[in-house]
């Protein structure tokens, strides 16, 4: 996956709570067997009417936000289904950063594994971003190394992120290759398990 550290863009505000992954990428598009090409189906049910015409009132269809790669949403973003097609769709569409006051656990993990930076930020700060980017272009810059966001008015915000995930994102590491370095540990665990005759029978 691609590494991420400094990132600057205008915000796309999606002021909704409990956005579930069924909305991020509806099930009719989960049949592909590739990781790519999901961007055009992102938020499909909200971007398009039933007759497939564009829903101009949905924020992603507002040309004001063209070129934005930072999505800001409200509480519990990414809840529901574990489908990794959700971050694949976000990434393919062009989003590299998602900011929300809280995320669903599986979605958060899925983002990190694909080089999307999910930032958990206090509610009042998210509200401030949402307000300032409503019908306006509002730009912020993120520095992952420093765990800081600077907005276009020069305000500074810091955010928390697990050290392990941070390193993964900064370096764009392949997690499986990393885990292979623990092969001995895994082997030893398996030996121990075998001798204690545990429940693991195929």
């Amino acid at each position: 996956m691609e590494a991420i550290n400094q990132h600057q863009s205008i915000i796309t505000p999606l002021d909704r709570v409990n956005v579930d992954t069924d909305q991020i990428i509806p099930k009719q598009f989960l049949k592909r067997i590739e990781r790519t090409g999901f961007g055009k189906y992102l938020f499909y049910g909200w971007r398009f009417h039933e007759d497939e015409s564009k829903n101009n009132s949905f924020v992603l269809n507002n040309p004001l936000y063209d070129g934005s790669s930072i999505l800001v949403a409200n509480h519990n973003f990414g809840c529901g289904s574990s489908r990794e097609h959700a971050p694949w769709a976000l990434l393919d569409y062009g989003f590299k950063v998602v900011i929300a006051p809280s995320f669903a656990d599986i979605f958060y993990n899925n983002c990190v594994k694909n080089g999307i930076l999910p930032i958990c930020l206090e509610e009042d700060k998210v509200e401030y971003f949402l307000k300032n980017s409503k019908d306006k272009r509002f730009s912020i810059e993120i520095n992952l190394e420093e765990q800081q966001i600077t907005d276009q008015n020069g305000h500074l915000y810091s955010f928390d992120i697990d050290r392990y995930w941070k390193e993964m994102l900064l370096n764009g590491w392949d997690e499986i290759a990393l885990t292979f370095q623990y092969d001995d540990y895994i082997g030893r665990y398996e030996q121990k398990q075998k001798s204690s005759n545990t429940t693991t029978r195929g």
């Binding site: 709570v17 039933e50 489908r83 599986i106 623990y182 195929g202």
Partner: protein, 473 residues
């Protein structure tokens, strides 16, 4: 120090523990299905990696499979996805219950049925309802496709230790209240994100009295409360359910296992990070009226008013949900007409669910405005039901009797609710478009779904049940 089952299972599976890192956890059982696995196998191929322990993996086809004519998959993309899984399983040596195999079914129905699911195991699947297996005292959780690939190649996962939560159901349930009502009431009371970052253990008298199938219904929907996993300490019911199942050993080996299994139960006096309580007598048969599983109420209630909410964003969320659901504030729930009934899904498609629903529809007829289908959770469930003549009961009432699969739970195959129509569904998600673009879902228990099929609108099943039907849902 006394420990919760959550800590016991976790600690037993730590391969590596280091400060500043998540724990590296060993995975005992990896379940796979056709939708979330192809990219993971592709990743293995691209990197020239193999499956570390194919014998600890088990795959089946459930999401896409047709429930009418098995041999006829009309959608070429679905067909390709199903074939891809078969090819991948063959290439990498992963055991597979193919669409035509007698063991096939929804992955969370067949795991327990085959005895693959056992207390104290760590179980993962690229599917958020993996929490179902927690009913057996396993630590079972859903993962993304990158993690599927990670487990395939290393049989481990990096996981940060979640917090522990107890949800206690205090007191006894009233007549006519099903496991589904309990979990819907929990989610409605505490919200869709109450469990975020936690693993939940369900406790209380009602849980102890529940059958294994009812426990699965409860644990199944843990993710709908945002929890990483949900589980129940194993007891005699757990043990006797597993006895004699295909993947459970026999004789002395079994006896030793039983002792080990029961040892995982939470110790007296163990401490949780958080405890929530709900009183059983607060719970009546439940239905959802909105677009997430917390938007529901007891059947004697009505669609809420925006003014019931103090918070502006809650009000907006309600209004958006009601607009999608085409419902007016204050409408009594029993006034909501429905056009479809779906009895199925990994939440409620087991033999006990079907028996309970059949009891309600027996000698009755499906309302002329309603299309109703029953989709057994597995081929084993289907065969058992047919042996008991349940298919005849359903068919005589006017239900369609289908082949097993996920079906109308997420409508990836041909079982779709048309736009604007309503479905009383025993599944677990009422998200916008879940059962078809523009479709409106009302989540209910199997007996409530059966009652709605007969009456043509949402109805309190207790008014229909003259006899004390077997409430297994």
């Amino acid at each position: 120090m006394p420990k919760t089952i959550i800590e016991k299972v976790w600690n037993d599976h730590i391969v590596n523990e280091e400060k500043g890192k998540p724990d590296l956890l060993y995975i005992d059982l990896h379940l796979l299905h056709e939708v979330t696995s192809p990219q993971a196998f592709e990743g293995l191929r691209l990197n020239n990696r193999k499956v570390r322990r194919p014998e600890l993996s088990f795959a089946t086809m459930d999401h896409n499979v047709p429930t009418k004519n098995r041999t006829n998959i009309t959608d070429p993309v679905s067909k390709k996805q199903i074939k891809t899984l078969a090819d991948n399983c063959q290439e990498f040596g992963v055991p597979l219950a193919h669409m035509d195999h007698p063991d096939q079914g929804i992955v969370h129905v067949i795991g327990p049925e085959l005895g693959l699911t056992q207390p104290g195991k760590t179980i993962v699947c690229g599917d958020s309802h993996t929490s179902t297996h927690g009913a057996f005292g396993a630590l079972a959780f859903g993962i993304g496709t990158s993690e599927v690939e990670h487990v395939l190649s290393t049989q481990t996962l990096w996981q940060s230790k979640p917090k522990t939560m107890e949800i206690k159901i205090v007191g006894e349930l009233e007549f006519g209240v099903a496991a589904k009502d309990v979990i819907l009431a929990i989610i409605s009371k505490f919200g869709v994100d109450v469990g975020t970052g936690h693993i939940v253990e369900y406790t209380g008298e009602a849980i102890k009295k529940f059958s294994m199938e009812q426990r699965m219904t409860i644990c199944n929907m843990s993710i709908e409360a945002g929890a990483r996993a949900g589980l129940i300490s194993p007891d005699e019911k757990t043990v006797s359910y597993l006895k004699g199942r295909t993947h459970v050993p026999e004789g002395e080996e079994y006896d030793a296992l039983v002792e080990k299994w029961l040892g995982y139960s939470t110790d007296e006096g163990a401490v949780y990070d958080r405890i929530l309580e709900i009183h059983a007598d607060e719970i009546e048969p439940f239905v959802t009226w909105g677009t997430n599983p917390s938007m529901g109420s007891g059947i004697s209630s009505h669609v809420p008013y925006a003014n019931d909410y103090d918070d502006v964003s809650d009000r907006e969320e309600l209004q958006r949900a009601l607009a999608y659901m085409d419902l007016k504030e204050g409408t009594p729930l029993t006034d909501i007409d429905i056009q479809h009934v779906f009895i199925g899904s990994c939440t409620n498609s087991r033999i006990g669910d079907l028996r309970a629903a059949a009891e309600v529809v027996k000698h009755r007829k499906v309302h002329p405005n309603v299309t109703a289908i029953v989709v057994p959770g597995s081929r084993t469930v289907k065969a058992q039901a047919e042996e008991e003549g349940l298919n005849v009961v359903f068919e005589q009432a006017g239900f369609e009797w289908r082949e097993s699969g996920c079906s109308m739970c997420l409508a990836m195959n041909d079982d779709i609710v048309p736009p604007g129509e309503r479905c009383a569904s025993t599944s677990n998600r009422n998200f916008e478009g879940r059962q078809g673009a523009g479709a409106r879902t009302h989540l209910v228990s199997p007996v409530m779904a059966a009652a709605a099929a007969i009456e043509g609108h949402l109805v309190d099943v207790r008014t229909i049940l003259k006899v004390h039907a077997r409430m297994e849902g």
